[in-house]
């Protein structure tokens, strides 16, 4: 779904990462279970989710990034 979203909107960058090849990234993002999705460092979830939930997570990330205290995307 991440790639599908990126195909529609050039403002969305979607990376699928084979975490077994990047142990440091697994540590940095605390990947304990897969799939794990992290959106701009402000929203994260583990497991596959329905399409509507995925879109909600994208929108939640946008809202969180609008907050003055949000980390850079």
């Amino acid at each position: 779904m991440a790639h599908a979203a990126a195909m529609l909107n050039p403002r969305i960058r979607a990376d699928v990462v084979e975490i077994s090849e990047f142990p440091k990234m697994a540590q940095d993002y605390q990947v304990m279970g897969v799939p794990k999705t992290v959106i701009s460092g402000v929203v994260e979830f583990v497991g596959a989710v329905p399409e509507s939930t995925f879109v909600s997570h994208l929108k939640a990330a946008v809202e969180k990034l609008k907050s003055p205290s949000a980390p850079p995307g």
Binding site: M1, A2, H3, A4, A5, A6, M7, L8, N9, P10, R11, I12, R13, A14, D15, V16, V17, E18, I19, S20, E21, F22, M25, A26, Y29, V31, V34, P35, K36, T37, V38, I39, S40, E51, S52, F54, V55, L58, K59, A61, V62, L65, K66, G73
Partner: protein, 150 residues
């Protein structure tokens, strides 16, 4: 040593012949030589990834593969913002926001094929309603999906 079996190649060749419509540009950033790279820039899966995608690209003239060495071609890769190696980037219309990092083995390989096909056909896996909502997003988002091959 080939990565894909002859049977797999035949299957993929047929699938690409039926499913691919427009050209798809695939940018593969990896290490193309055995020259020592900087510490931490080793890429154990690069040789196999290079071979895999060269084999895949050979099965359809609609798959335009571009290979770059992360060190030797550093100047050409300015602005591409590659996080790790190997990086597989599907590019179209100047956009380069659809990426895989690491060799797409096991269950991830079908996802690569799906991305190729959808880009080539201009299709999308999301429902029309979801597509509309995604198009409205007006802020840069970086979505990372961490997976394993099994």
């Amino acid at each position: 040593m080939p990565v894909l079996s002859d049977k797999d190649k035949e299957y993929l060749r047929d699938t690409f012949r039926k499913d691919l419509v427009n050209d798809v540009r695939v940018i593969l950033v990896s290490r193309l030589s055995d020259e020592p790279s900087a510490p931490g820039a080793e890429c154990h899966y690069c040789p196999q990834t290079n071979e895999l995608f060269q084999e895949v690209a050979s099965l359809s003239d609609k798959i335009k593969l571009e290979l770059y060495d992360a060190v030797a071609d550093k100047d050409k890769l300015q602005g591409l913002d590659v996080d790790d190696l190997p990086a597989i980037i599907f590019a179209r219309d100047g956009e380069r926001n659809i990426r895989f990092y690491g060799i797409p083995a096991g269950n991830e390989f079908p996802n690569v094929l799906e991305a190729l096909t959808h880009l080539s056909k201009g299709e999308n896996a999301l429902s029309p309603q979801a597509q509309e909502e995604v198009r409205k997003i007006d802020r840069d988002l970086h979505v990372r999906v961490f997976v394993t091959p099994t």
